[in-house]
Symmetry: C2
């Protein structure tokens, strides 16, 4: 049978079954934007022919990573808010007040390139201005599951004293909700299904009860999920307690949010009992290891969530306050931080990390029928990594195999050479084929120069830890 792309002779990790589904001398046949067949090289090469054959000898062939929670726009202010207290108020906001939609779009494009270069093929992008940011995914050819970040709070909320209730402006909420609805109505399923949309309430503390309930109704109407920060910090718990007299999880349960429609991001402040309650409700969880480690110095209850029967996965969050967006890095962090949390090296292994960045992430985002593993009929999102890089050397296959541990604990990201998304080669030999990478970097740099200039006074006024470090020659 004739197919479009044949990948042969590789170590194929399908991520099917309970483990990693390794086929040692494996092949993948791709027809159009779908996987036609997966199996041994011998079987596949006997049955399928293609013009485009990729010899994957000494390569790892696997489903692309799914970054379930990322704010790509924010990468335009990468690296301005870490090693500090009050990172949002004093780190992010003095900058973000001065970022234009065009700036966000330019930052987002570099962030997507960064992700693709480390093997991400699906981006769970959750950010403002998404009807604009989504154009980047259309152009570069990556898969995205987008949500507009909907809230009712003004940009200058950072100027409020800590502890004071956020003001809600219904006009802000209406505008943002309109963009989320536009995503659902006009973008969901475009580009041959490569772009899909879900709903993105910013958090239970970020909008009025009315708007929160309206979004819950919309989730039913569109039969979709709610991607939402939940118990993401003591700030949130404080706001909810002041407003409703209870903690976030209790509030969300009372309001009917604890069910399979909810993707609960972070759960930083959730107690064990609350975590268990969310997990048992059928809601899913996303853990952002690097980000919450840097911002809060906390390991969130992902393991407890899984032990309670829940489905959880990984996300890289945002560049100012994780600084990078690299799922290989997130896998390593997730594993080690949980080992340290439990003081037990066996408690979170490489396999769990890898599943959490592929098939489990597909489940959390509600797209496991399309991506997350290599199976005939699924979308053709496939990456190839070079096993002859020092980080993978040597390859040992019997009686134990070291490829998965070295992928999770040793690889850096640049081992990813080829990225096929929706059946199209988006990156080959580490070169992005679909857009001008160099120009994207230059555009983002120019945008950032403007932001830094406009934000100058606010940054100086914020008197943040970062500013002190700058003055002391530490940066």
């Amino acid at each position: 049978m004739k197919v479009d792309i044949l990948i042969t002779n590789g170590f194929v990790v399908t991520m099917e079954g309970r483990g990693v589904g390794m086929i040692e001398d494996g092949a993948v046949a791709i027809k159009g934007n779908r996987i036609e067949a997966v199996g041994s090289s011998y079987d596949i090469m006997r049955e399928y022919k293609a013009e485009h054959v990729i010899d994957a000898k000494n390569k790892l062939v696997m489903p692309g990573f799914i970054d379930a929670h990322i704010h790509t726009g924010l990468s335009i202010i990468r690296g301005v808010a870490q090693d500090m207290t009050n990172w949002m108020q004093k780190g992010i906001w003095p900058f973000s007040k001065h970022v234009t939609t065009d700036d966000y779009v330019k930052g987002s494009m570099v962030n997507i390139i960064e992700g693709i270069q480390a093997g991400t093929t699906t981006f769970g992008d959750y950010d403002g201005h998404m009807t604009e940011l989504v154009q980047n995914y259309i152009k570069i050819g990556a898969r995205a599951r987008v949500a507009e970040l909907v809230n009712e709070i003004p940009d200058n909320v950072g100027d409020l004293p800590v502890g004071e209730l956020y003001p809600f402006h219904s006009s802000i909420g209406e505008e943002k909700l309109a963009r989320n609805i536009a995503l659902m109505e006009k973008y969901n399923g475009i580009e041959n299904g490569r772009i899909t949309s879900i709903l993105g309430p910013h958090g239970p503390d970020m909008m009025s009860l009315e708007l929160l309930q309206e979004m819950k109704g919309l989730a039913d109407k569109y039969d979709t999920k709610l991607h939402m920060h939940v118990a993401q910090g003591d700030r949130e718990i404080d706001q909810i307690e002041k407003r409703y007299g209870k903690r976030s999880i209790d509030f969300l349960e009372e309001q009917g949010f604890l069910n399979e429609r909810l993707i609960a991001v972070h759960l930083t402040e959730a107690t064990d009992e609350e975590t268990e309650r969310v997990a048992k409700s059928g809601a899913n969880m996303i853990y952002c290891a690097g980000s919450i480690g840097i911002i809060d110095g906390i390991v969130t209850p992902m393991l407890k969530f899984i032990e309670s029967g829940g489905t959880a996965c990984l996300g890289s969050d945002q560049a100012p306050g994780n600084n990078c967006n690299n799922m290989i890095n997130e896998m390593k962090f997730a594993a080690i931080l949980n080992k340290v949390k439990r003081a037990n090296p066996a408690v979170f292994n490489a396999t769990l990390a890898l599943r959490s960045a592929t098939i489990e992430a597909a489940k959390v985002l509600g797209i496991e029928h399309e991506v997350g593993s290599l199976r005939p009929g699924k979308k053709a999102d496939v990456i190839l990594l070079n096993l002859e890089e020092p980080s993978f050397t040597p390859v040992i296959t019997s009686p134990v195999r070291n490829i998965i541990p070295n992928l999770v604990y040793s690889a850096r990201g640049h081992e990813v050479e080829t990225s096929i998304i929706d059946g199209k080669i988006v990156m080959e030999n580490r070169k992005i084929l679909t857009i001008n990478h160099k120009k994207a970097v230059q555009d983002a740099q120019e945008a950032a120069n403007g932001i830094a200039e406009r934000a100058r006074e606010d940054i100086l006024e914020a008197e943040s830890d970062i500013l002190t470090m700058m003055r002391e020659g530490m940066l």
Copy 2:
């Protein structure tokens, strides 16, 4: 004045002073194997001329990283011992019994390449067979501060029931000590001073009191340091308690080891009080964040050591059970794991991480007069990183600067493009110039194939967690 290499127009991080010593439009002049001058591009370019000028526009120029504690030979069994209990007995030993000296040499070379590709220029290599491994450094042109791993225990000690006292064989000790002495007598200061040697007792539990005292005497004789694992695990504490009736630190103090000659590696099991005692004695400490995180699920007391007035730095340890050797990765881990340990995001910042991988590491190894910062008269170990990679984009310089946080928290390693060691360009455009990189990888792969075959029975007999995972399709 005529010099050999002129690096101009870069962001020069000198690591001089208390912070990072940034010169925004800086230049470095190199003559022979020494730094001739460092300053603004304007000043340096007016005063110095060179045939070889490297335009470092949009590059970060800095001292090469110092990996203070690495066992390069062990990388020949990278990735065979993680996510498990009894990692040394059941993970490492079934393999390592079958590794030949030639295998170690081949593994070591790939490990050194891996380090150089992530910016390491000085390797604090601490391993067996060092008179052989050191040949790799001579060939590839990296700086090394080597020590032979001296112990008196046989290779099959892993077969002993856990808790039983190790047998000591003086013939083993004599042979290993002879190699360490050979390093001191024949290799210390060779290659124009690029290779230097120190002493490497494996640990207080790994040899007889007589040999330990002999090595202490040799440290005085050669006026050098003792690179030694100290309180590296409950196994060590147990052995020392059974043998001498006290804990490791008490034992070492009693035996006169707590002073500025001691480089105490790990201190995994040291209490706060013990940590403080070691720090105040003038001894130094090395923290291996990734390795001890993976192997033990522990964050060792590096911060407590520094707070007690001690000097501490970072090392990447060994590839089976850290899986990689990348100082950028170690910096990120060290910072985040300590933030999590203290539940405080400000407690370990990017500047401390960077200092711990450069100038502080030079102090710990006793070579701060030669390397660790860019200062006229020091050895010319300089790396250049590309700031136009997505991980560094955008570069913001005023009123706060984001380069150092993005180096520590965002860079992956492949941003390092050029590595100059001892005034010679060892890597250019990411290509190693001094040896055949591809052949080194192939040689290591072939060696590993042989080991896996020879070790087969022992691995099957060990019935390790890894073997179970393999059988269950998790690897």
